[in-house]
Symmetry: C2
Subunit: 464 residues, 2 copies
């Protein structure tokens, strides 16, 4: 019997939200959200819920469909990579690299690339996710092209940075291997853009990003699933976790829908309680990259300019990544004593995959002896609770998401939770959470400076 | 003749600040700082300058003395590590790991630990900088204790996380090697704390952190110099860069002192122009960790509660790390269209150590062909200029620091520049930039929960 037919297993593995310390009862009415404010939001909330439901049904919001997708093509491609290569080189930027990194960091060894193939459970994973020449040179110099599969990931197929790195990697392949196309996989739109026809003309393997799934909502599409499956992560469990979260997010009831509750509390904290910043602070190294993925999702979806009957309004809370316990020695001083302008979300892992006992040594040394006999897990979680308690004393609102264990089922829940939270928050702000018009002009300026046909050189002094 | 006796070399290698796009002339009086505001700051500025000078002369601000220190003991210790070990394991948190990581990321290969000893130029570098049991297990399982040197770094000698990880690493050493003390180096206060007497009693090697140098200002003390020297970084050039920056920061003249100018512009942006956030956005992978180091420096130094004749004031701009070009596909949409509440500092590298030419391939594919013949360096820097131009059009203030090349001389300048900037900003805000009282209570709560002698268990349900 599969674990997914066992409701007790699922319920024990569910991510839980505790929002009591974000409320007025805990941190006072100036900084905490009141029951009345949540009640006042109900009409708006119901209409956003209905609108999301309508758009979902019409197929506009493709990310909602991803948990139910057929993963056979991804598994087939992953097996081809696992059988044929020692290295998997992902060429992508933004949503095409942040999601894959988040899943990898949470579910594979932090020393993955240093381990033997047997210990790792899959090919090594490298990324070209920026156009830094030092990084690109170092990676290509280190890898053997004959043993490397290059996955070019771009929704539009025309992202400048990904295009540039693809061209460099392509030449690198051509210098050493007979058939570069046998080393290439494209993950891109099924119809649009330049990458799809190029890949099909040359006969590369390809995987689709559904047309109604934007880059930052594509982690549960082939963008994220292929690198995960290549590295031995159980992507069926990832999608099962997302599906389970989808079920929990079907209701507009703020008491049971964790995504809507998170969205409503963030929205009210920002617009009513002077909290223009949202801190995502996991107490687990493996979730630090998830915070970076969340930063893109929250920033790019909600950071918008909007014309409100002639008045220009600028929306969007600024997301801030942090890591416990490390940031207790960096950002927490500011969170505790600086301006009370943040809503902080803790991610806490209840049981880690490894148990590390702190030995009882140096019994005569005061600052060491008291630790003996405890575990690192216990120390980490006590520190999380202590930080939360201190922030509460200072009237600083916090939220706590408890993750029972870091496994694919949990990560699927978290990805989907934050995606629904973001889509719903877009509705509350009354903006389009699925575009990014503010970065288009910068792209045009770059095209112009490089003499791309149809784009004037507006910066001057350009050229290659 | 040493390069440091050649003024032309030095001047060509100096980090340059361009602040024009942070001024009212460029982005308007609402969001930009005016000449009048800078002029009005002069009396305050002169008194902060005089006060820093007084404290420096009295030996209170030890970080100012670090460029002139005798590095012989560090080099000696580094040679001992390089000769005797394959792995260097740094156990430290906050300032004890952020600085070492920043120098390493900027000046060593991004694939350092994957390279051969010859390619690397030194032992492999690992860190235990958090108490995550998965990370700690993975690192200790991977390393051979017989070939590993453990550097325990703690100013106070009593940091709980460092103490816990030290105990775990100590037991790991004891299980496999005859004389654990021959694998240990302590970097700590020369007199205070529990680590110093323990190390001396057992006969470990030790290096000092001067008593008047706090954790986040200790990168140019042995904290940062030892791991740098172990990995083959020229620490004499690092200090030469810091010394050169010190010379440039000797004047209170805002037109020539880049640290004071940065501090003044950030202070005015925060207090007069509604910019509670400071973004540090390098366009170079190697400087991304420097942004994390800056986050601690700025957040922990300036995030303070202050009693202003009976009125409680909360100070501190929230620092935000970013990375170009990657974050053009993540945070930049928010920076461009969201609330105009940030001052953004770009770090731009003029010449990278590697040249990567983008080949002319696929001449018939529109979104690829225009890139052929350019370099990645050029593309990266054109994108930086394009992002800056878009932000300017939207009246968003930015600063640009240009780094001629990523070398130890440049990194020394940057570390020192940001340290002086932070110390000076502390003076402008009228707060103590060198303490962190807000995190002490959380430490006491943790001690109490673990039953440390003298600390009551205030959280309840505690114990190990």
């Amino acid at each position: 019997m599969s674990r997914f037919t066992r409701p007790d297993w699922i319920s024990a593995q569910r991510v839980q939200l505790d929002s009591r310390l974000a409320l007025a009862d805990a941190v006072g009415p100036q900084h905490g959200v009141s029951a009345q404010e949540l009640a006042d939001l109900l009409p708006n909330l119901r209409s956003v819920h209905a609108e999301l439901g309508r758009r979902r049904a019409s197929g506009e919001l493709g990310f909602y469909q991803l948990p139910g997708q057929d993963i056979t093509p991804v598994l087939e491609a992953a097996n081809w990579v696992r059988d044929g290569f020692d290295n998997f080189l992902l060429v992508g930027i933004g949503g095409s690299s942040l999601g894959p990194k988040a899943a990898h960091a949470a579910l594979r060894s932090p020393l993955y690339n240093l381990l033997s193939r047997e210990e790792r459970g899959g090919p090594r994973l490298f990324l070209l996710e920026n156009i830094d020449p030092v990084t690109v040179s170092a990676v290509l110099r280190h890898l053997d092209p004959a043993r490397t599969c290059v996955n070019v990931v771009s929704k539009s197929g025309g992202t400048a940075e990904t295009a540039a790195n693809y061209l460099v990697a392509r030449e690198w392949l051509e210098k050493s291997v007979q058939n570069p196309r046998e080393h290439l996989i494209a993950t891109t739109d099924p119809a649009n853009g330049d990458l799809r026809p190029l890949a099909e003309r040359e006969g590369w393997r390809t995987l689709p990003i559904p047309p109604d799934v934007g880059g930052r909502f594509s982690q549960l599409a082939a963008v994220g699933l292929l690198p995960a499956a290549v590295c031995g992560i159980d992507i069926a469990e990832l999608l099962a976790g997302a599906h389970d979260m989808d079920l929990r997010c079907a209701t507009p009831d703020l008491d049971t829908n964790p995504a809507y509750r998170l969205a409503a509390l963030h929205y009210l904290a920002d617009t009513r309680h002077g909290k223009p910043m949202a801190v995502m602070m996991p107490y687990a190294d493996g979730l630090r990259s998830l915070a970076d993925w969340f930063v893109q999702l929250w920033a790019e979806s909600l950071g918008k300019e909007r014309d409100l009957s002639g008045k220009i309004v600028h929306t969007g809370q600024t997301p801030l990544p942090a890591l416990g316990a490390s940031d207790q020695h960096s950002q927490v001083q500011l969170f505790v004593e600086g301006p009370n302008d943040k809503l902080i979300t803790f991610l806490r892992v209840e049981h880690f995959a490894e148990a590390v006992q702190i030995p009882s040594l140096h019994g005569d040394v005061g600052s060491l002896a008291y630790l003996g006999g405890a575990t690192l897990e216990r120390l980490l979680n006590v520190e999380q609770a202590a930080t939360e308690a201190v922030l509460r004393e200072r009237q600083r609102p916090t939220l706590r998401l408890t993750v029972p264990e870091l496994n694919p089922f949990a990560m699927g829940q978290l990805f989907f939770l934050f995606e629904v939270m973001t889509a719903f928050a877009g509705g509350l702000y009354g903006i389009n959470a699925f575009d990014q018009p503010g970065v288009e002009h910068g792209k045009r300026l770059t095209y112009g400076a490089f003499g791309r046909a149809g784009y004037p050189d507006l910066m001057g002094g350009g050229g290659k």
